[in-house]
């Protein structure tokens, strides 16, 4: 089965999950109440910003090492929330960017947050800086900023690679309260070891829904959960029929043939 074009099963799976997500979005917009459990890391954002303001030290928000991508867009959505809080309390928010496009978006986003809170004069354009598009130069730059500015709270949201531990340990050294969220599964252990709050896996994608309680985002979140349940059902069916001696083994073979790329 080639991956150049989707086959019928792949298209059906994506279509079903897509329809479920869209249906839940419509339901939420129609007034349906949807439950979302408490995510401690996101609930602590307010505390982190408040603590930094009390200490009179700035905040730092890193959007990860990837350019314009859905992970970075999600991180920027969280950055907007943090920047509104920072602006409200009159605190500085430093956003080191790894990509020129992200730099431009972040600058506009933070500037408008300060303007919306009625404090345009508190915005410092030098706090939004492009450092480098390379991994370790970026890490070195952020570590330098954390040490020199003695930031009181750090936020690491986005896709990170090996520099994750470098950044979070530097924040530990200066005594910052640290909140991290990343879909990068290999970096989660390092954030768990060094950060006060860590958001794991697809909780990261729930962040914008959690913070804004916007019906569209809540509906999408519930739709995602249903989509995951459907995928789990497929896995269970495939596993249950995998044994060769079973009469339904042909189901498992068909699923493997339709979903396994290559050749």
């Amino acid at each position: 089965m080639s991956t150049q074009h989707a086959n019928a099963l792949q298209a059906a799976i994506v279509a079903i999950i897509g329809v479920v997500i869209l249906y839940m979005i419509l339901s939420a917009r129609g007034g349906r109440e949807l439950f979302i459990r408490r995510i401690p890391g996101l609930a602590a954002i307010d505390e982190a910003v408040g603590r930094a303001t009390e200490m009179g030290r700035p905040l730092l928000f890193s959007t990860g090492l990837v350019g314009v991508d859905i992970d970075t867009l999600q991180a920027l959505a969280i950055a907007q929330y943090v920047s509104r809080l920072a602006a409200r309390y009159g605190n500085r928010l430093i956003v080191p960017a790894v990509d020129p496009v992200i730099f431009a978006i972040a600058e506009q986003l933070v500037r408008e947050a300060y303007t919306a809170e009625g404090k345009p004069e508190a915005f410092r354009s030098d706090d939004i800086r492009f450092l480098s598009s390379e991994q370790f130069p970026y890490a070195a730059g952020v570590m330098g900023i954390i040490n020199r500015e003695r930031v009181a709270s750090t936020f690491f949201f986005g896709y990170f690679y090996a520099e994750a531990l470098l950044l979070s340990e530097t924040g530990q050294e200066v005594g910052a309260i640290q909140i991290a969220g990343t879909p990068a599964t290999t970096q989660i252990p390092f954030f768990l070891a060094s950060c006060d709050y860590t958001i794991i896996g697809d909780e990261f994608y729930a962040a914008s829904a959690y913070l804004t309680r916007e019906p569209t985002l809540l509906g999408s979140l519930v739709g995602q959960d249903i989509g995951k349940a459907l995928l789990m059902l497929l896995v269970i069916i495939g596993t249950a029929t995998a044994a060769p001696h079973l009469p339904l083994h042909v189901v498992s073979q068909w699923l493997a043939r339709m979903l396994h790329p290559g050749g």
Binding site: P40, T186, Y197, P261
Partner: protein
């Protein structure tokens, strides 16, 4: 007081780690590695590549990971040169990657009497990411055009008969990032070209789902993977020489975890606050 103890405990730990790893610069210890199944599979895949196909050594790594990816690249290129397998160095994620691969191949080629252009070539760094890889898989000379020396790649004997991914016997993806999925999606998924994966230790768990699904033929996990490969080549290279230092570092970290927990349980028995809780 707490800050002062934290300050000194950090520095003592760093000094211990420096001694634990640095001592093996002067003390020579011979390390023996038992080769894992993923590394052996990759070795066998390289051995199986037929003479009329080329191996792509995809150097998608940067100088920062030279300690792991650099040694993996050296072991893999050494295998290709030793067995007379034609290979092409290539990169599209980090501009420095192909240049670093070039330095390694140039250093090793004389030992096995191989020549640039006849036995291997360097296609250099190409921009375009996914789009470029898709076009490359369909038409290699049309996409690559020139090598790292700005000469047409079709002028080299090693490129004779190499048109598309169907003429590639194996792709060796050496990287610290998640570039493997591009090759799986646009090359293995369409042309069935076998892929081997050599990654940093921290990225290794992400390679296992692909290995289990048969989408990659083998896996080298960081410095240990490079050492296993050198063991298979019966060559005592830098990776094997550094394994005692890694053993020592791992032992030290385990000892630190044990000491940390002993102190924690003692503090808990005394009723002292254990420090800031970590939460997910």
């Amino acid at each position: 007081m707490e800050q002062s103890s934290q300050f000194w405990s950090r520095r003592i730990i760093w000094l211990l780690l420096a001694i634990a790893t640095g001592i093996f610069i002067v003390v020579k210890v011979k390390a023996v590695m038992y080769v894992s199944r993923p590394a052996l599979s990759l070795y066998e895949a390289v051995e199986r590549v037929p003479a009329d196909k080329i191996i792509v050594v995809s150097c998608n790594w940067e100088p920062g990971t030279r300690g792991e990816n650099g040694l993996q690249t050296e072991a893999l290129i050494r295998h290709c040169l030793r067995n007379g397998k034609h290979f092409a160095i290539f990169g599209w994620a980090y501009p420095a990657g192909p240049q670093l691969g070039q330095q390694i191949a140039e250093r090793l080629q004389g030992r096995y009497h191989r020549r640039y252009g006849t036995d291997w070539v360097n296609w250099g760094y190409k921009t375009g990411q996914n789009n470029m890889v898709r076009a490359w898989a369909q038409n290699i000379p049309g996409t690559i055009k020139e090598d790292i020396l700005h000469k047409p790649i079709t002028s080299y004997p090693v490129m004779r008969g190499i048109r598309s991914a169907r003429d590639v016997g194996l792709i060796l993806e050496i990287t610290p990032s998640d570039t493997l999925v591009t090759y799986v999606r646009f090359v293995y998924g369409i042309y069935g070209t076998p892929i081997g994966y050599a990654c940093t230790g921290v990225m290794a768990p992400e390679g296992f789902p692909y290995l289990d699904a048969g989408q990659i033929v083998g896996l080298l996990k960081g410095l240990a993977g490079a050492a296993e490969y050198e063991q298979l080549l019966h060559y005592r290279g830098e990776a094997l020489k550094r394994m005692p230092a890694q053993s020592s570092a791992h032992l030290l970290i385990i000892a630190l975890i044990v000491v940390g927990n002993v102190l924690y349980f003692r503090a808990r028995r005394r009723g002292e606050a254990p420090g800031r809780r970590l939460s997910t």
